[in-house]
Each structure stands twice: as C-alpha cells, then as structure tokens.
Symmetry: C2
Subunit: 232 residues, 2 copies
C-alpha cells in the first residue's frame, strides 16, 4: 500500500468551509503627478508626485487614510479585482499596473485573517475622474499614519519604483502625453530622492523620446521642447 504524505492526506480531507477562512484583498498604490501653478502670469508650474488615498468611513481605522482596495471575489482573478477598484476610483480602464508583493502578516487586519495582494499603478492624473479618493503629496503621505500596514506597502512600492525606473519605461505612465525633459527629470529626482545632472539625464533619456517641434511658452526663460514617449 502506498504511503501517503501528510500534505496529501490533508488535501484529501480538506473542506474549506470547515476551516477558519482567509480572505484575500487587493491594495493599490496609485501614483500620479499633479501640477500646481505657482505663478499664473509666468505660468510657473511646480510638479509633485502623489498617491491616491481613501478616507475610511468604517471600522477599522475609521477616519484614517488607506490605500484603495477591496476583497477579491471568488470568481474573479486578482488582476480583475485590481481593475475593478481602479475603474471605480478613477473612472479609467487600461491603467498601467503591476503586482508588487503579497502581505500576509497574521494581525494586519483586526477583523479577521486577511492576506493582501498589493499592486502599483501609474496614471496620468489629467485623465482621472476621482471618486471617493484624494491625491496626497508623497511627502505628506510619509508623514501620515495610515490604516493597516499601508505605510509599509507604500514604502515597498517606492523601493520598487526606485529599482525599476532606470531599466524600464514605467515612469512615462504618470506623465501627460506631452512633457518637457525637465518635467521628466523632476519625477526621476522625486522617485530617486536625489538631484541629477541635466546634461547626463538628457543624454540617457533622449532616445526614448520623440520631438514634437512645439515649445513651452511664457516661462521667463528659454523655452523647452515638448516631447512624447516613443512607446506611447
């Protein structure tokens, strides 16, 4: 007679309804760039990197900010759950997103055992129609105490961005169709948290871009060309 392993015996007799269930959620770190016009006459725009947060109106962590997210339905894929949440909060389909990491600490949700599959999403804010969510500047986000382990998830998402920015084209998903190299550089500097040399940056990035022939205007200094991403 074949000897069965413990795992196989377990599987044979496994009936999920007899066990304390584990719920699966998705939580999404949505990044977007906002422009704040600081000088209307000279059209001086200041950019900042923002994360989409939701103010919780229910237990637990009522009144605190959390990442947009929700339970994964038993008949939908994880990716579909992410798309559903993104559509719901931004009105958009086809947002760039990728899986970040799955967080499974035992006490991370006080209600019950919840495992969260975290995603990163990058979106052009000019296309977004917000619903029950706010853009919060990344500097402020790092000051806030967020619900669940969401501060930790955001830390990890920033590490991922930092790690991928130099060998992928993900940043372009947070930019509008047309942008200047300075604007692009500013986002790199925010994500990498250090200053870059304009000359070197331009040279490394230029072959991913297409010239539009158009320029910024009324900037109070030499205008800069507007570019588009080749992969657009």
């Amino acid at each position: 007679m074949l000897k069965r392993t413990e795992e196989e015996i377990f599987l044979e007799n496994y009936n999920p309804r007899e066990y304390e269930p584990i719920a699966i959620t998705v939580d999404i770190v949505v990044f977007g760039v906002l422009k704040i016009t600081t000088d209307n006459y000279r059209k001086l725009d200041k950019q900042s990197l923002n994360i989409l947060l939701v103010s919780r109106k229910e237990y637990p962590f009522k009144g605190m900010y959390s990442l947009p997210g929700g339970f994964v339905g038993s008949k939908e894929t994880i990716d579909d759950a992410v798309k559903r949440v993104l559509k719901n909060k931004t009105g958009l389909d086809n947002i760039y997103c990728e899986q970040l990491y799955t967080f499974g600490e035992v006490g991370r949700d006080p209600r019950m055992r919840v495992i969260s599959c975290a995603y990163i999403a990058l979106v052009d804010t000019t296309k977004v129609q917000l619903k029950d969510a706010e853009w919060i500047d990344i500097d402020r986000v790092t000051q806030l105490t967020l619900a669940f382990d969401h501060s930790h998830i955001i830390d990890e998402s920033l590490k991922r961005l930092r790690g991928k920015i130099n060998y992928t084209d993900i940043v372009f998903h947070v930019l509008p169709k047309r942008f200047t190299i300075s604007e692009l550089q500013e986002i790199y500097e925010t994500i990498l948290n250090k200053k870059l040399l304009a000359a070197a940056f331009r040279r490394t990035i230029i072959d991913k871009l297409v010239e539009t022939g158009e320029y910024t205007q009324n900037a109070g200094h030499r205008p800069s060309m507007l570019f588009e991403w080749k992969g657009f």
Copy 2:
C-alpha cells in the same frame, strides 16, 4: 444601554462562512546544483541546475510532477508556511527564499478556488536530506508537463533569476562553501542561457570572493583555486 464598540458591531454582522471561501497556498521553486562525476579517475565533474519536484500520488494531476507547496494556515504567515514546507522536504531551516509572484487565475486548481503565492528558494544540495521530493534537471523540467500552472511558475522564476543574477548575490546560495570560478561561471551560463567569456567573468565577480589558497587536484590540467563567497 451600553454603547457597543465599532468592532462589536462589525463582528456581530460579519459571518465569513456566508461567503464562498478562497484558499491560499504557497508553491516553491527550489533551485539546487548537482554534480555528476563523469570521469572518476580524473575527477571530472559536470554540474547541472535542478529544481525540486514532487510526484503527485492523488487527484488532481495524479502521477504528474508538481512544485512542493501547501496550504497557508489561518494562524501562520505566508513566510512561515514556506519555511514549514522547505523544512519538511529538505530537513533544513534557514534556506534562502524570496517571494516571486501571486498567481490567482480562477481555474488553476480544479478542486476549488486557490490562490498561490509562489516563492523562489536557493539551496546548497550537499546539505539537503530529501523527503518525498526529487531533484530534476532544469532541461528536463522544461520538457515535462507539470501539475497546475507550475510550468508557468517555473518560467517566471527563471526570468526572476536571470533578472537578479547580475545585480545581486543570490547565486551563491546554490553553491557549496568552496567552489571554483569556473563552477560559478557554469551556473551563470545555465541561468542566463549563454556562454560568457572567462576573463571578463572573472574580473566582474572576483571582488565578491575570498581566496582560500587551496586548489582543485587531479583535473588533468592546471588546477584552479577554490574560493568562498565574501558574504558567507
């Protein structure tokens, strides 16, 4: 009348058994290097990269190979489930492992909805005591049809290895304490699936290594020095 806390109100109304449950498993791609002595007199060793597989003895996919894995208990973290499975199959604690990706296609397990959190592990085969598992050469693994979506998981794990090998020190976890640069290069070549130039390889890797002063013997050619990894 006593005022109830938010938590009490929530728990009163929440009944997890009303929902169709989703089960969570871990599946682990364990990599190890085996040496096959092809010429006993001259001690000619041929290396190969292997993956640890389990032969399934029950429905579903009975008779096929699958990755070692198991259900995540409702009171254990995902990492702990991985450690438990690794201990069970290899007898070892402290195996290097990292989370790969979470796979959540709806039909991936014919029994019920199962979401699998996949991990990569790298282990020195000389320390392993196998239990209900076999080392299968990676070339053979890619020929086989595996249970569930495990072929896909292995493909992704190889991509991850390929991506990380050049900017991390993960490879060293599959090597024994002492090894030659040629052996190290052979593993790089297997993972990257291309030949490397010995001179260039040596120069890029040498500053991660410590000389032991000892040499291989009876190889039929100039002996090579045995090195250790600095991070050991």
